[in-house]
């Protein structure tokens, strides 16, 4: 009943572990798979190793967390040793980043055949060195990266977009035109900040960080809704999803699957099973036989 498909990749349910949550090792990805995720996305990695920002990298705010981990990763060659240890319990998606088309292409080429899908992170709101949202805010730069990766690999390519733009539909249209196979909406919002009252100092070492958690759900939902109207490629919804009701809203808005991130904090690793159980009960009550019947339903009412 919960089976779904995205870019011909079969998933036992529509939940995925989002990029940047756990996911930096095969062990934690396999654990998310064992915990019920329908697919898992790695933490973003790049050509060269990156230790990320100094702590504090995470602080709670009303409605979620802001974080500036800083895209820490051991570099593609070491990350490949983790990908080799994935148990294949569920489809695996590699989240990759770089500063330009060549870097993205180099990383993608090196992992060709090791994962079921590649998700391009052009949307991290706290990246430095010309990575992240500085790319994803520019339709041309984003399109060039999609083209470069699509030329280099046969693996389906999703692009994760930032909501921190004037018109996300224009960026989504550019990525579709460049040949992407799916669009992931959205990366964290902002960046935002939190200041300590006693010292007047920003709490995050990087001063600013991406906002995630329940607070961003309405924004993510609106982005999915708008982009669904404009593109034909499947959409993966992410942003503040914590329970099955949130997941249903994203499916209705047009997402074919949903990613779970910060809710791992609120609900634990059981979050995938909890959402799936709730979703199944809901589908029974409403008479849905498949997830696909729900995708984009709001647009048809």
């Amino acid at each position: 009943m919960l089976e779904t498909e995205i870019c011909k990749i079969k998933m036992k349910n529509p939940t995925m572990l989002a990029a940047g949550i756990m996911g930096s090792t095969a062990a934690s990805l396999n654990w998310a798979a064992r915990s019920g995720a329908g697919a898992v996305v790695t933490k973003s990695f790049s050509m060269e190793l990156n230790p990320g920002y100094a702590n504090p990298t995470t602080v709670e705010v009303t409605g979620g967390f802001i974080n500036a981990i800083g895209l820490s990763n051991p570099g593609v060659e070491l990350f490949k040793t983790e990908l080799e240890k994935l148990k294949g319990l569920v489809p695996a998606v590699a989240s990759i980043y770089g500063a330009n088309p060549q870097e993205f292409q180099n990383v993608a080429t090196r992992i060709e055949g090791m994962v079921d899908m590649i998700e391009l992170n052009v949307s991290c709101p706290h990246a430095s060195g010309g990575c992240g949202a500085s790319i994803g805010q520019d339709p041309d730069a984003t399109g060039q990266i999609v083209k470069a990766v699509k030329q280099a690999v046969k693996t389906p390519v999703a692009v994760k977009l930032t909501p921190n733009v004037t018109d996300i539909v224009k960026i989504a249209e550019a990525t579709q035109k460049a040949g992407c196979d799916a669009i992931t909406l959205i990366n964290s919002v902002g960046p935002g900040m939190r200041i300590d009252l006693e010292t007047a100092q920003p709490i995050l070492h990087n001063k600013f960080g991406g906002l995630s958690g329940p607070a961003i759900k309405p924004i993510a939902l609106r982005c999915v809704y708008d982009v669904y109207e404009a593109v034909d490629v499947p959409i993966i919804g992410v942003g503040g999803i914590r329970d099955y009701k949130d997941a249903v809203e994203f499916l209705y808005a047009g997402a074919s699957s949903v990613q779970i991130g910060t809710a791992v904090y609120y609900e634990g690793m059981d979050v995938f099973k909890k959402i799936c159980t709730g979703l199944e009960n809901f589908m029974n009550r409403k008479g849905y036989d498949s997830v696909s019947e729900m995708v984009g339903k709001t647009h048809k009412t």
């Binding site: 504090p56 967390f65 990350f79 709490i203």
Partner: protein, 264 residues
């Protein structure tokens, strides 16, 4: 909310030439020995184990060895200086059984001091092996002698107490005593040997592990261990023997800030 609470250092105890204990006023609720807090010095933030939990005085403490930039900066602070504390986090030690063997190596004694005091308050008998390289580095001797804990000191160089490693003394003690449980914290190679002894003598044991941490609340994945994927900050830092058996990297390697494996 997971935000640093700014507190003033109430007292500093110079424990050894390289170790200081920092004490803070704190409203104790569910803090348990073995749990840790993230300490923010306004430049960096690191996890530190609670070494003192005093519900009567309303105090907590952290016992910190000077090993790098962050801990050197902490050692320069004086009473009244501010720090940010976030937590407590993770799963601490369980007090189970009537007679417990505790083995602490070096600054690994920090959570065990809090554990021994808590166990004493509950009327549980604790034999505590405190191991250090040399007499000057032995921790909490006076403090623990004020409790009902049976303190057995040992030094690598024999300058005080038993001459040898904590694991040597543990073996000796296990030969002539029976225990319901073992708890340990210290260098992982030491804890690995304690794990082997616990298995040999068929005594359930708890181990306090340490890994590089970032978020501290189970989101970022930095402290996940192979092959089970558990988070040291959430499922740990204290694990039981049957769990430690599944942590294949235990006693072998850890990961740095970028995620590269480094041998222990």
């Amino acid at each position: 909310m997971n935000v640093p609470k700014i507190v003033e250092i109430k007292d500093i105890i110079k424990e050894t030439p390289t170790v200081k204990t920092f004490i803070f006023d704190w409203e104790i609720t569910e803090e348990t020995p073995g749990q840790f807090m993230m300490i923010w010095n306004f430049h960096d933030e690191k996890p530190m184990s609670l070494s003192l939990i005093d519900p009567v005085k309303g105090e907590i403490g952290f016992t910190i060895r000077k090993v790098g930039k962050f801990t050197e900066a902490l050692h320069k602070l004086e009473v009244g200086a501010q720090l940010g504390l976030r937590g407590p986090y993770g799963r601490g030690f369980e007090i189970a059984g009537l007679k417990i063997l505790a083995v602490g190596g070096g600054v690994g004694m920090a959570p065990l001091a809090a554990f021994a005091e808590e166990a004493s308050r509950k009327g549980v008998e604790v034999d505590l092996i405190s191991a250090a390289a040399t007499q000057d580095e032995l921790l909490f001797m006076d403090r623990l002698n004020r409790t009902d804990t049976n303190l057995r000191a040992c030094t690598d160089d024999g300058t005080y107490g038993f001459c040898g490693f904590g694991t040597d003394l543990a073996q000796k003690v296990l030969e002539s005593n029976s225990y319901d449980m073992i708890v340990t914290c210290g260098p992982e190679v030491m804890m690995k040997k304690i794990a082997d002894l616990a298995e040999e003598y068929e005594i359930p044991a708890q181990f306090s592990l340490e890994r590089y941490m970032k978020c501290g609340v189970g989101i970022c994945g930095q402290c996940c261990v192979d092959d089970v994927g558990w988070r040291i900050c959430k499922e740990g830092p204290v694990f039981w023997s049957d769990e430690v058996k599944l942590i294949t990297e235990f006693g072998k390697y850890r990961r740095d800030a970028a995620g590269r494996k480094e041998p222990l």
